[in-house]
Every structure is written in C-alpha cells, then in structure tokens.
Amino acid sequence: MRRLAVLLLLLWLPAWPAGAVEPDEVLADPALEDRAREISKELRCVVCQNQSIDDSNAEIARDMRLLVRERLVEGDTDDQVVDFMVARYGEYVRFSPTIRFETLPLWFGPPALVLVVVLAIVMVYRAQQNRSAHEGVRPLSAAERARLDALVEKLGGGEKPRSQGDPP
C-alpha cells in the first residue's frame, strides 16, 4: 500500500479510484441523506491520503459514513454529529480545522497578508508621490532658466514646456 502511495505522490496526483458511497448505506429520507453527504465531505478518512470519507472506499471510511448516518437518524444536529466524530477520531478528521491558538496563522494568515501588502503598497505609493513632488519637479538652475527663456523667445513664445522630471 505504501508503494502505491509513493508512486502516486511521484506523479503530482491524488490517490485511489473511488465511488465511495454504496447503495446499502443510503438513507431512505433524502433530506437526511443530503445532510449526511454534506457532513461526509467535511470529514477526513483517517487512513487515506487527503480524502474525505465521502470520496474514499476504504473500510474505515465506510464505518465512519455509517456512523454519521446513525447519528443523524438518532436526531443529532450537523454540529453534534461532527463533534461526535471529533470526540471519537480526534481533531484530525476535521477538514476545516477549528480556530484555536495553534491554527490562528491558518485562518488569519491570509487577511494579515492582505494588510501587509496593502500597507506596503500605500508606503511605496506615498514614496513615489514624494519623489515626484521633490525630485521630479526640481527647480531649474539660473543657467537652465536662462537657456529655456532664450529658447522660448526664439520659438516665438507659447506655453512653457513642462518639466517631466527625467533624471539628468
């Protein structure tokens, strides 16, 4: 089995052919069955490579699916079912980890990243504006002013050319 896992890993692709849910597992009540499917998609098959119990045809995944359905038939809410499964199989079965100290980076990393990037952009933008305000429109020296006036004179007036702030 390990050999198969390694082989598949080598190829950048997920494992196992499946078609997991068997006809004999399906609940008679379609609404309940839909809920079972949704919950199954959130729970990890504990022996598989990154597969939900809804996708996996491993034996234990089947047991877990049956357990989920059993709890639903007993009248548990979705959250109660998930809590039950977590109590039984550990936090590892939850495909979407709960928010606690150790998982803070997972949930708040992306927004924090946005904040950092936006701040960086604002700073770069400010710096850019400052640069254009200070360096860009460096006043002309007296000699340059005289040359410019002479040119304007020679061309017969008109608008003064705008300084573009090119580096010298």
Partner: protein, 667 residues
C-alpha cells in the same frame, strides 16, 4: 551496455553543467568574450548529454531490460508500448531525468535564440541555468540513479500502477514539467539581472515570452491532470485541493501574477523590484513543489525523518536557491529605481490589484498546504490537523471574486491614469449580461447554493467585459465591417491572446461553478432492464459482459442513455482488473452534450444479479476543460506575436532602454 552509456552521459552532463555554471559567469564579470562564448557549447552539450541519458533509459523501458532497477520496478513486458514509454517518466528517477532534460532544453534555447540579449546578460542567464543543472544532476547522480543495475535481473518487472496506464496521464507529467521548469528561465533572468545590476523595460520584454511559454504549458498540464482525475477516479471529482495538486497550482498562481507584472515592467518601466521578486518566488514554488512531492514529507513527517537522503538533498537545493536569490534580491533591489508613475485607477493599478490578489491566493494555498506539516513537525507529531476542501473553499473563493470582477475592467483602463466613469459606461453590457445570467441560473436551479448563480453572473461579466474590450479595439459595429476587419488583422496577436485567455477564465469559472453546485447523482443497485432517471435523462441498464484487454480483465456494463423516448447514445462503463498489480480501476463512460456530461460507472455485483451503479449528470463540467484549452490557446497565440518571438528583430527591443535604471555593482 546502453544503460552504462546513459550513466556515463549523465555523469558527463554533470561535469559540463559545472563548466556552464562557472565559466560564462567569470566571462561576464571580466567582460571576456571567449569565456562568455563557452556558454553556447556548454548548453548544447548539456542538452545532448541529458538527451542521450534519457534516450538510454527510454531504450531500457522499450526493450524491457529488467536488469535496470528502475525498469524492473516500474515496467512489465506485457504493458502496451505507450505505457512502456510513459513509464520512463512515471517514476521518481525517470521523472527527475526528464526534469533536467527540459532544463537543458531551456538553457540551450536561450543560448541559441537569445542572440539579441546583451552578451553579459545572456552569459549570466546561461550560467544560472547551469547552476540549477548542477544541483539537479548531482541529486540524480548521487541519490536517484536511474541506471542502477540488478544482479540477478528479475524475470519480469513489477508493472506500472494501473491508474497511471492512461493516455491522459501519459502526457500530463511532460506538460507539467515544461511549465515547472520553464519558470527556471524567469528565475535565471531575474538572478542575472540582479547580478548585472540592471532591470529595464527591455528585460521585461525578454523575460515575458519564457514566462508565457511556461505558463501556457503549466495550464495545459494542470488541466490534463484534472481531466484525468475526473474520468479515471470514478466519481466525477476534478479538483481535490490535494497537496500534490496544490504543489502545481502555487507556481501557476505566482506565474500568472508574474506574467502580468512583467507587462508593467515592459510597458511602463516600473514595478521592477516586485517583478524580480515574483520571478524568484515562482521558481522557488516550483522547487518547493518538487520537494513536497519527492521528499515523502507528505506521506508522513515521520517517514521523511527516517529516510531523509533525498528529502534533505532537495531541501538543501531549495535553501540555496531560495535563500541565495532572496539575499541577492535584498542586496540589489533597493537600488532599482522605478520609472513611470501612475494613479491607483489605471491599467497599472489594475495589474497591481491582480498581483496582490494572486499573491494572496497563492499565500493561502501555501499556508493550507504546508501549515499542517509545519504544525505536525513543531508539535512532534502530536498536533495533527487536516486542511481540505472546506478550508480552501472558504478562503480561496472570496479572493477570486474581486479578482475576476476587476479582471473585466483592467484591460479597459488607460495606462497611467484611468477614467473610471468611462470604463463603467463601457461595461454596461457586461453588467446587464451578468444580471441576466444570474437570474437565469437562479430560475434554473432555485434549490442550489446561492453562490452558484452569483458566480455564473461573474463569469458572464468577465466574458462580456473581455469581448467589449476586443470589440472596441477593432471598432466593431461602430465602423464599417470592412474597417473592423482591417483593424482585426492589424491587432497585435498578444492583444487577441489576452482576450482569449481571459475568455478562457470566464468559461472555466462557469464550468467549475456548474460542476460544483448542480451535480445530480444516483447511486443504487441496478438489475438488467432497470431504468434509472437522473435529471432530465434516463440511464437504462442493459447487461454486463466480461472479457480481457491487453494486460487486464474487464467487466463491462451496457447502458443506454435516453432522454424521454429518444435514445441518445450507448455507454460502456468498465471496471478493469490488472493481475500484475492486483488492482482494479474504474473506467467511467462519459457522454458529453457540450454543456453537461452524462457519467456512468459500474461497480461490484451484489450477488443477487444486481450491480452497484453510479450515474451522474454533471452540468457545465466540459466547460472547465474548454476554458483551460482556450486559455492555453490564448497563450500560444500571444507567443506567436512577433514582438514576443525569441529572435525578434533588434528594432523591437531597442526603444525602451532610455529610462533604464542602473545600479553600480557592489564589488
């Protein structure tokens, strides 16, 4: 004998790559023409030598030479020829060999076609390619020798995993690798430019075609892998947020960002430091993907710790490449002056927005993929968390929505200073289309998730917005048709390529949305003669027959697909049993209508004359692959633009150098 020949060629390639890494670089520093000129023969011989080694291994597979360990472990004499050949890269050693062949191919391409580059830059790029070559050739020669002999040789081989014996998967790794390794060019150009101390618009122009080529292949490779999963794994899933998939998706996201920021460097001579950083990060993510997949760290952190030779080697490559290039970046980037100024509402502003969101999306995937490993290692294996589709759907989708909304507006903006009210006016049709599609999708599927009609609307917004920009460019309906035709012919191919690629994204989004939200599924036991209704179709289960293929036995169901009284087609789903591997695969039968797939799978017998069957109606699924095809087509069209052509005339590259930023190399 042939295997030893391959072994010799491989070792020689390692030596040549050392020369390629060192000599042109020294030449570039001394501005010594002859030394720099060694880059070309070195790159050419590296290509020939690695090519010879690859050929030798391929010969081993074709001739079923089981005295070669790699062949014995991964091939079998009964395997069809296609899979004997694809078996060459269907294993660790062979795939790494393919990696270096592609690397050598890119190195040779820049030596051969990069004649319009300044000689020192070209020499440095070739040298950096050589350094990457040294690292990976050493990795192969010292830890993953594909030519190891077995004595005595086994009578027959172990065979290739049956799941992988599939035409789609035969071509998936090469495409993916061209993409992955293609980003090494962006990396080499970035490092060379930092060493050179010069990043200007011309640099942006040179680096774009390589990035675009890599991106195009990576897009195709990822799509092919996803398609394979869809038809082979047997329940119509097409993306699993599996770490192995994420490993290829992260470079794609970063590469997409790079593609766009390089445009800003070329056209506006700004965002230079960021683009360089992106080039480094994109290739680093390719390396990271290699590490994740090759080191075994995914199977378990523990397995990695017990047999870490390969993992540690790749980790060392990663540390040197990423650490070294980032240190160089930190040293040189502050001196990179940006050129053109721009307002927030402008083409540049839109591209910056694109970059932020893509980087963010990439960061999210990165966290979701690596944080669990990190946490597990940190807590010594006690704290194991799973990060799967629910996490990624909750974090990734909200990032994509604003990205796609702005994607329609960006190309309509002017450079430097955009006119938002004007752009909004031009997007009126897109807005109307979005609302219409949203309402229509909701009326068709009132019970589905609410996000689905919204996402369909956004796809329509993007498609119509993209077409608006294209129509405006050729003045469609505003000028006589002949005039529009003339404009169309004059339109740069890169512009049409962009239109196509963006359209492809819209199509793919529509496909992904429909596939995720509106799938109809029936799982039940069927007996011959049963008719199973699925959506507006009926699957009539007729019979099951058995037989034998070239290296497997099969059980084949005969299913008639009906819509009302009309027979649409016959479907033949199979399960195949491969005796060599002792494994079964499901071969789904798929009928596509263009806007939906009807998908049939046959499972086990129940012992009472019934069979487990799974029938699906997968609405919009084909659009995912159409979208990916259109995106790749856009990439190729853009690549064919003469301005992108690698050997483009000097004239094209000369103009923008005036505003280059130069820094004095710190020596």
């Amino acid at each position: 004998m042939i295997a030893e020949f391959g072994q010799f060629a491989l070792t020689l390639a390692l030596v040549v790559s050392l020369v390629q890494a060192v000599v042109p670089m020294i030449g570039a520093y001394r501005n010594d023409g002859p030394l720099m000129a060694t880059g070309y023969p070195a790159a050419l011989s590296q290509l020939l030598l690695t090519g010879l080694a690859f050929g030798a291994l391929t010969y081993g597979f074709i001739a079923s030479d089981f005295s070669v360990a790699t062949v014995a472990a991964n091939s079998h004499s009964l395997k069809p020829m296609l899979y004997k050949v694809s078996g060459v890269w269907g294993n660790h050693e062979g795939s790494m060999l393919m990696w270096v062949v592609i690397l050598a191919l890119f190195g040779w391409a820049v030596a051969q076609f990069g004649t319009n580059l300044p000689p020192t830059l070209r020499a440095r790029v070739i040298s950096v390619q050589g350094m990457i070559g040294v690292a990976f050739l050493a990795f192969i020669v010292f830890t993953s020798n594909p030519f190891m002999r077995l004595d005595p040789a086994p009578f027959d081989g172990n065979g290739l995993n049956p799941l992988l014996q599939d035409p789609g998967l035969a071509f998936h790794p090469p495409l993916l690798y061209v993409g992955y390794v293609g980003f090494s060019m962006a990396f080499s150009f970035a490092v060379a430019a930092l060493l050179e101390g010069r990043v200007d618009a011309a640099w942006g122009r040179w680096v774009r075609p390589w990035t675009l080529a890599a991106w195009t292949f990576l897009t195709g490779g990822i799509a092919l892998g996803s398609w394979w999963a869809y038809y082979e794994l047997g329940w119509g899933g097409w993306w699993f947020w599996d770490p192995v998939e994420n490993a290829s998706f992260m470079p794609w996201l970063a590469g997409t960002a790079l593609l766009h920021s390089a445009i800003v460097v070329e056209k506006r001579d700004t965002l230079k430091a960021w683009t360089i950083l992106l080039a480094i990060l994109t290739f680093s993510l390719s390396l990271l993907g290699t590490f994740i997949v090759r080191s075994g760290v995914l199977t378990s952190v523990h397995a990695f710790a017990t047999d870490p030779t390969r993992g540690v080697f790749i980790l060392a490559i990663l540390a040197v490449a990423v650490g070294g290039s980032l240190a160089l970046f930190a040293l040189r980037a502050p001196a990179l002056q940006s050129g053109g100024l721009f307002r927030l509402i402008s083409r540049e502003g839109g591209l910056v927005f694109n970059n932020i969101l893509l980087a963010l999306a990439c960061g999210t995937v990165f966290l979701g993929t690596l944080y669990p490993l990190f946490l597990e290692a940190l807590s010594d294996g006690r704290d194991k968390v799973s990060v799967g589709p629910p996490y990624f759907n909750a974090t990734f989708v909200p990032i994509m929505i604003p990205l796609v909304i702005v994607m329609a507006a960006g190309p309509l903006m002017a450079w430097k200073r955009g006119n938002l009210p004007n752009v909004m006016r031009r997007l009126v049709w897109a807005g109307l289309a979005a609302v219409a599609v949203m309402v229509w999708a909701f009326l068709l599927h009132p019970d589905g998730p609410w996000l689905a009609p919204v996402a369909m609307g956004i796809a329509a917004w993007l498609a119509v917005g993209t077409l608006t920009e294209w129509a405006d460019r050729i003045k469609l309906f505003r000028a006589p048709l002949s005039d529009s035709w003339r404009r169309l012919k004059g339109l740069p191919r890169a512009a049409s390529g962009m239109t196509l690629a963006h359209l492809g994204v819209a199509v793919a989004i529509a496909g992904m949305t429909g596939a995720s939200a509106w799938q109809v599924e029936r799982i039940q036991v069927a007996r011959p003669g049963d008719v199973v209704p699925v959506g507006s179709y009926q699957f009539a289960f007729d019979e099951v027959t058995e037989g034998a293929g070239p290296n497997y036995n099969y059980r084949r169901a005969h299913v008639t697909l009906l819509r009302g009284d009309r027979v649409i087609t016959e479907l033949y789903p199979e399960t195949r049993f491969f005796p060599v591997a002792g494994q079964s695969t499901t071969e789904a039968a798929i009928h596509t209508t263009g806007v939906a797939d009807l998908y049939a799978v046959v499972g086990e017998a129940d012992g009472n004359g019934g069979w487990t069957v799974r029938f699906y109606e997968n609405p919009m699924v084909p659009w995912i692959w159409y979208g990916a095809l259109i995106m790749s087509a856009g990439g190729f069209l853009s690549l064919s633009d003469r301005r992108h052509r690698v050997g483009a005339p000097q004239r094209a590259a000369r103009k923008p150098v005036a505003t280059s930023a130069e820094i004095v190399p710190a020596e």
